[in-house]
Amino acid sequence: MFLRILRRSLTINKKRKALTISVVALGTGVIAALLSIALVIGDRLEQELRTYGANLEVVPAVDSLRIEINGVDYSNTARGAYLDERQLPKIKTIFWRHNIVGFAPFLPVMGSLKDNGRTISLVGTWFEKPMPAEDEPDFRTGVKIVYPYWQVEGRWASDDSSVSEAMIGAKLARVLNLANNDHFTTEVNGRFQRFRIVGIIRSGGVEENQAFVQLAVIQKLMNLPHKIKKIQISALTIPENKKARKDPAIMTPEEYEKWYCAPYISAIAYQIMEVISNSRAKPILQVAESEGVILSKIKLILLLIAIASAGASILAVASGMTAIVMERRSEIGLLKAIGASNRQVEALFLAEAGMIGVFGGLIGYGLGLFLAQIIGKSSFNITAPFNPAVALITIILAVIITLLGSLFPLRSVAALEPVVVLHGQE
């Protein structure tokens, strides 16, 4: 009997059912869309924030104090401690190797121009050197990867040391009155070297005062084979919490393992120190510290959007259900008049609401996935994949919302007097 009434009430008056289902679908669709986006946006945001450049710097563990103003190093680079260039590929073998976006070695020296004796700051580095790693055969790294914000007029220099090309900062180019394709000869360590300028760098930073040349050329001039002064690394990290700030030396074995296996900046720095001998890796706070805060702000905004829309959807569905129950007062009156108990009437309505919820949730997830693609594509260029967990959550949520929405109006069912309702009075 119950089932028959239920089936009848679902098959007749399809229009009204369709309306309710669409209200539920629309409401849960927004929730499903935001959930789908929230699941994938974290990784994408981290990559986005890598445009701020390196967030880790590795320097020799023991070295003299650097005396440097505006990118010009006044300390004597020929002395002091160095890192070994040959250990660089090991950076791509650490536990979090996939989170290493790129790195670049540096060896700065002072040179004097042959023409006018002016002192200039030369920096030996890698531009975009191929460095096949075990599971990333086309991995390339160098300043082009680490400093995506450099604006280059001309082109990036080659890493092939047989052609001795240079990229020079815009300010240096202006002061020396040099342009692309010009040559300059500089004296370093008593030896002369001629460079061809292929690119002018604009960055608004100290790079504009420097000339970047191939690392191998500087190493040869200085007689410092395989020596480098520092490494800058761009790594994908997650914001550190209080526990992650603890000194690894005083962590319990469990804490240590947890920390080591999370892409915290401190954990990555620690793992790099393990593979580069006599080194000290330190987070560049300007980038590393701000990144965490910004990331959590953006996620908070997303969460607030999701909560606001979930709230709105719940209320919209609830009011839709209320409208339906109100509309069916005379039906309820009739059911009661022919002997249905309050309980039976309520069960009937809840069963109906449950089914509406399931259908609404299913359609809602489909709609949500579609909306997620639109939102994702047009903002962060991400695609939200099908996720069974989100689908399940959406359907469950749809059922809960519909049931909650029906509960409130059903409370008045008991108070309905069949005679009054059937008579049509309010």
């Binding site: 209200v23 924030l49 002192t119 300007q286 510290e289 910004i294 702000k297 606001a308």
Partner: protein
Amino acid sequence: MFKRILLKSILRRKRHIGLALAIVIVGTSVVAALFSVFSNVDVKMSRELRRYGANMVVLPAQPPLAGSPTAESQISEKELKKIAGALNRPQVVAWIPLKYQVVVINGSKQAVLVGTNFENMVRVKPYLRIEGRLPRNTEDRGLLVGVEAARKLGLKIGERVQLGSGSSNLRESQTFQITGLVKSGASEDNRLFANLMPVRKLLKSTSIDVIMASVIGGMQSIEQLRQTIEAVAPRVRVEPVLKIAKSEGQLLNRISALSLIAAFIILTITTIAAMATIQSLITERRMEIGLMKVLGARNISIIALFASEAGIVALTGSLIGYGIGIALAQIIGYSAFGTSIDLNPVVFVTVLAIGFLIAVPGVPFFIKKITKIEPANTLRGEY
């Protein structure tokens, strides 16, 4: 007569009107809250992104590359005053003058000394980690030492040091006291920081090397400031720090695109859901319409009655919804950004429009329905 029916219809059908009102309030409050937040999100995020530090620099015409500075490679005190005036704007969060010099510490080792303004330095570079305290006022001969410099030179908080300019001639030196250590993971770690005034006295020079500023509003504001500054001090150059400014612009564009689209979708869906619900309430009133027609009401007066009823619901609902919405927006503003959300008149107009859109759903469709109702059929209960 019309007024009486309208009044009665609203008063007698409290439950229905209440429900319709609730739907309008829910719809409009969500729209008001989200639109208020999103119309502010780029300004707020721009302020948040100032954590990354200075995004604009003011440089002398010809910055020193190496060797001793010349008048060309410095910003004079007179220019500094003019630039300070131009930088006194609400979009400038903070700015600092910087004066660099290699100094001799205690007559032996060398390090880079930076003269600046501490109060503003921590605002321009909020990522600095400071241990100890900052020198007090702008005259105080306190010294903030980079962690690397402290380690390598063996300096400690509270210690007094002799700083000499250029040579190791101690007669030229002055005493500073270390008040704190500073850490950034970058060049600051290798330097010493002091107030600009005592540094000027020590170096016997009033000019400075560079000005760094933290500006909200992205590249556009930087461009405006560039024009203002270069107008008052033609010899200097103003440049964006690309590392910060370029990334910031990109990120802000993405975030505003995201919030705009999300807001638009939520707006559409809330409106549709609310409209659908209200519509189901109207179909219920066929009987009433039929009765009115039987009693001789013309279509136009029935439409007028329903339209004014819906209008009252829309107006009341949107006003309440707007109130709730902006309260919600403030809660979001404080929890996400720690500041209030500015009110935007456009949001109010939008909310009012949405309110009417919800409460007067598909008016033409509705009119068609009313005119089509046959009293006899409807009253008998047929559809």
